[in-house]
């Protein structure tokens, strides 16, 4: 007859495949019992490593816990997985009839006290007695598992498990590993590809816990970083981080954390090169959105001067590392701080220069004059600046030039997130940006949709860059380093990044922040009223020159953009003053009265809901292509 012990062990092994039989002795086995309580356990790591952990059942525990927790050396952590319980089983000769089984329990590290483990071990005897000297191994394991479900009484908020600080790393590490293993086993529906994915190919966002598949995240973030759209590098769940982002828009200087850290990108994982680029772009964006940034006067360098606010990233660490700003000339004490502030050191080439006269550092006692920027520019630079003046609008906050590729004229700056008007560069309130376009008697009234198809070479009109004298030196500098790029329309001209010898090509490929509600053209016109209302003869509805009514028409009628561009572009460009800033077209003033009359009529018609008719006949008979004069 087969040994009862063998039968029992075989049976147990069938139930718990993880059971390991001892090859040395036939009736010994060991099993690891995971401690995964249903509710997480608060673990207090104390410095009192000499005091053994106290089991909750023992009488002194309550007292101990309350006393220890008042001490400020307590480090409270919430743990979901505790290191597993090792059970070693030995079935002696005479088991089950005459001898009870021997169970040995242990944990690594020993977060459960020896006293408590002894108590658990001795339970086996009682169990064996209760079972009338029968087979009790399964029953015992089961009782341990049940006890583990509530972490031996520690689960929930009622009790706090104490453990010496020495165990902290290994216990937390175990917790993290176990969580990861559990995560990998789970299945998630990726919100981007809408496919069910195993946790092993997914990433859980560190800040908010949303889960996406690694493939989609890689695709999206790689693309965003490639385009320079740093703001998109955030959690991809709808509405997530929205509140945080809104708080940011409310003008609080402190940036709430909505963006992913480089280390998280590394975890996803993205390519190191991509993350390096992300870090570099972030740093650059920080520099560019800061008007106080000083740039190196060396033409071949043009790096930023070291500043405490925007530290040059070291490796992947943003705003980290010790800066050795104090390394130069710091021993010369006793001078006024203002003079000393003139010293700038380039973070790229370490050139020390005076930020007033932009010469090499001349010491604190030289009186110098601010540099007048007559600077000889190359033809290419001039062309770039000219293009920037004509076809970009600087952000009112940080002067970073933006070029619209399509959409309405409500823009959000791609570097500093300011809301502004593309036409006049006015700052707009993030809470109600459209008021600017809906206020009568302002320059941009009813012009939200003007230039809907983007600014570019085929649009002859310089907008804010020309209308306002907003392009200052800083903006030009920024512009030279990062010419805005039209990404939507291939026929729009781009500034070849390589033509600017000073710019770093990968950095240059900053994508333009595209803005506004996207719109789309519908070719099929819905039935419209045929009522033809000829415009009053006095109201010049001229095409190419007049930005007022024509633009208004365009904004409302929006006929073919390229056509409009052609119309406006040709003659307009010839009128440009190549060196000067683009001013409002001269005709604008001359026909001001007619224009005003037209607007009045338009408003009147709008009030009567007839402006539509004005529109339709305008498009259909080409009335507004009548030349100005």
């Amino acid at each position: 007859m087969e040994d009862e012990r063998k039968v029992e062990l075989d049976c147990i092994t069938a139930i718990f495949p993880e059971m390991v039989l001892d090859p040395e002795s036939p009736f010994s086995a060991s099993i690891e019992l995971p401690v995964n309580p249903q509710t997480p356990v608060d673990v207090a790591f104390t410095n009192a490593s000499d005091a053994p952990p106290t089991p909750p059942q023992s009488d002194s525990s309550e007292v101990n816990v309350s006393v220890e927790l008042t001490a400020d050396n307590v480090d409270l952590q919430n743990v979901s997985y505790l290191p597993s319980l090792q059970l070693h089983i030995t079935l002696p000769d005479g088991y089950p009839e005459e001898q009870p089984p021997t169970f040995k329990l242990s944990t690594t590290p020993s977060w459960l006290s020896r006293a408590y483990l002894d108590e658990l071990e001795s339970n086996a005897q009682a169990l064996w007695e209760e079972a009338g000297h029968g087979a009790v191994v399964f029953g015992y394991i089961d009782s341990l598992q049940q006890a583990a479900e509530n972490a031996f009484g520690y689960a929930g908020a009622s009790k706090i498990l104490e453990a010496p600080r020495d165990f902290k790393i290994s216990m937390l590490d175990f917790d993290i590993q176990a969580k990861q293993a559990a995560f990998k086993r789970e299945t998630f529906g990726c919100g981007i590809c809408l496919e069910p994915k195993k946790g092993s190919v997914c990433h859980r966002m560190l800040d908010c816990g949303h889960v996406f598949c690694v493939e989609c995240l890689q695709d999206f973030y790689n693309n965003a970083i490639k385009e320079g759209d740093l703001a998109a590098v955030r959690c991809l769940a709808p509405g997530c981080a929205k509140e945080r982002a809104e708080a940011q828009a409310d003008g609080s200087r402190k940036k709430p954390k909505t963006h992913l850290s480089p280390s998280e990108l590394l975890q996803i994982p993205l390519e190191l090169d991509t993350i390096t680029r992300y870090v570099r772009l972030k740093h650059k964006a920080g520099l560019e959105s800061d008007k106080n940034t000083i740039y190196c006067p060396r033409k071949w360098c043009q790096g930023a001067a070291r500043s405490k606010k925007h530290r040059k990233p070291i490796g992947l660490a943003l705003h980290d590392g010790s800066d050795d700003e104090s390394g130069l000339d710091e021993e010369e004490a006793g001078t006024t701080p203002s003079r000393r502030d003139l010293l700038s050191v380039c973070e790229d080439c370490s050139f020390a220069f005076c930020n007033r006269c932009y010469q090499g550092w001349h010491g604190e006692f030289t009186i110098c004059m601010p540099k007048t920027n007559t600077g000889e520019l190359t033809e290419e630079d001039k062309a770039s600046i000219e293009y920037l003046k004509l076809h970009t609008t600087p952000c009112p906050t940080c002067s970073a030039p933006a070029q619209k590729t399509h959409g309405c004229n409500h823009m959000i700056c791609f570097t500093c997130r300011s809301h502004f008007c593309y036409l006049c560069s006015a700052w707009l309130s993030p809470s109600n940006p459209y008021a600017h376009f809906n206020t009568i008697n302002t320059r941009c009234y009813m012009r939200l949709w003007e230039l809907e198809h983007g600014d570019g070479d085929d649009v002859g009109v310089g907008y804010a860059g020309g209308v306002e004298e907003v392009l200052e030196e800083g903006a030009v500098e920024v512009g030279l380093e990062a010419p805005p790029l039209a990404i939507e329309f291939p026929d729009e001209p781009e500034i070849d990044p390589t033509e600017d010898a000073n710019a770093e090509p990968p950095v240059v490929r900053e994508a333009l922040q595209r803005e506004g509600p996207l719109v789309l053209r519908i070719n099929e016109l819905p039935p419209r009223p045929v009522l033809a209302l000829a415009p009053a003869p006095g109201l010049a509805r001229d095409g190419p020159g007049n930005r007022g009514p024509a633009a208004q028409n365009q904004a409302r009628g929006r006929n073919g953009p390229r056509q409009v561009g052609g119309q406006r572009g040709g003659p307009r460009r010839r009128r440009l003053n190549p060196a000067g800033r683009q001013r409002a077209p001269p005709e604008l003033d001359e026909i001001g009265a007619a224009q005003q009359a037209w607007i009045q009529m338009f408003v009147q018609m709008a009030l009567n809901d007839e402006e539509d008719q004005l529109d339709s006949d305008g498009e259909e008979d080409g009335a507004w292509e009548i030349p100005v004069r």
Partner: protein, 153 residues
């Protein structure tokens, strides 16, 4: 992007097998999943009730990384939709900075539907409609109904 097609097909299947109330979706061209015809019933209780509004939804090639574009093909008198043949519309979810790749077309459609029920006059693109909506609601409703009768049959 192959995943784009797959995702769009999934969303299309979802919307066609279990269409949201008052919204009917079909492809403009069966061989191209990027262009959708939407027919939206004017929501009850709004001045658009009884009308059937056609919309065109265009999904860019890099959808869902970039938001879809949606326009009214049927004229509609509404503060947030331009009253012209383009029917351009301003809804928050479609702004590039608000769009998240895990946002779905369904939510775009329901947001559009919601916009019919509750115009947002402060974000208006059709200013005269917004003015009327704010200052003379009865007149606005009357006109919206008339236009609905006229165009959205």
């Amino acid at each position: 992007m192959a995943s784009s097609q797959k995702r769009i097909s999934k969303e299309l299947a979802e919307v066609t097998t279990n269409p949201p109330e008052g919204i009917h979706v079909s492809l403009v061209d069966e061989s191209n999943v990027h262009n959708w015809n939407i027919v939206m019933d004017g929501p009850e209780g709004s001045p658009y009730a009884g009308g059937k509004f056609k919309l065109l939804l265009v999904l860019p090639n890099d959808y869902p990384f970039k938001p879809p574009k949606i326009n009214f093909k049927t004229r509609i008198w509404h503060p947030n939709v331009t009253f012209d043949e383009h029917g351009s519309m301003c809804i928050g979810i479609l702004k590039p900075e608000a769009w998240k790749p895990s946002s779905k077309i369904l939510s775009v459609l329901t947001a559009t539907q919601q916009l019919l029920v509750e115009p947002v006059p402060d974000d208006a693109v059709e200013t005269s409609a917004a003015e009327k909506f704010k200052n003379n609601r009865a007149q606005f409703n009357k006109e919206a109904q008339e236009y609905t009768k006229k165009y959205a049959k």
